[in-house]
Symmetry: C2
Subunit: 133 residues, 2 copies
């Protein structure tokens, strides 16, 4: 399988595959003509990468999963290093969600206060930026 077919089957671009190879994440064998050659297992590795990417994992964070698969394990998360990434990611997600929730609350409070101020002192009102709500 050459790069174009793998890209189509995985739903990525050839540029993406070359990029992964440049990062050492998905190296390819080469045919006599210099063309990259991939196998079915490369498609599985690629799918693993894509799933994690869709979760928001950075490319480097997918590496343990890929190496785990390449080591012959049926799942990319069968290795301790992968589980460690999962756990770290959960911690990061919790922190991020907490921060965003805090920001959301503060923005909502600012909005409510600003609306209340406009209600209590309705005129003269600022006309800048659109019609009054």
């Amino acid at each position: 399988m050459r790069i174009g077919e793998l890209a189509r089957r995985a739903g990525v671009t050839t540029r993406t595959l070359r990029y992964y190879e440049a990062r050492g994440l998905l190296p390819a064998r080469r045919g006599d003509n210099g063309y990259r050659t991939y196998g079915e297992d490369d498609l599985r590795l690629l799918r693993q990468i894509r799933v994690l990417q869709d979760f928001g994992f950075g490319l480097e964070e997918t590496r343990p999963f890929v190496e785990c698969l390449r080591a012959g394990h049926p799942a990319g998360d069968a290795c301790p290093a992968s589980l460690a990434v999962y756990r770290r990611k959960l911690t990061e997600l919790d922190a991020l969600i907490g921060q965003l929730g805090s920001v959301r609350a503060q923005v909502a409070a600012h909005l409510a206060a600003a609306e209340a101020a406009r209600y209590e002192a309705p005129e003269p009102r600022c006309q800048f930026g659109g019609t009054t709500p």
Copy 2:
């Protein structure tokens, strides 16, 4: 007040102030020697920008607030355009928090499944990437 003093009082760098000016967000008057000159009101504008930046607002999203203050209003969110930004941001935050929560649940499920698999078939275990948990 020159750029260095304003930067110190606002807790930003001079580079940041020059950047804001280049974006047309915080223009400065100039003295005879070409030095930028700022007033106390510029400090207030700058503080408004920083609060919103800390909330994760993009620079362009702070513009309505700044122009509202510059129009003479006591608060940057006294204008409809600012309130619109608040509301849009709340929507974005809700969407983002929802997505992150979904991702968090999926990662947690993957982790639990992987741990269960290791428990049910404890050997031979993959040794790659560290000690077993």
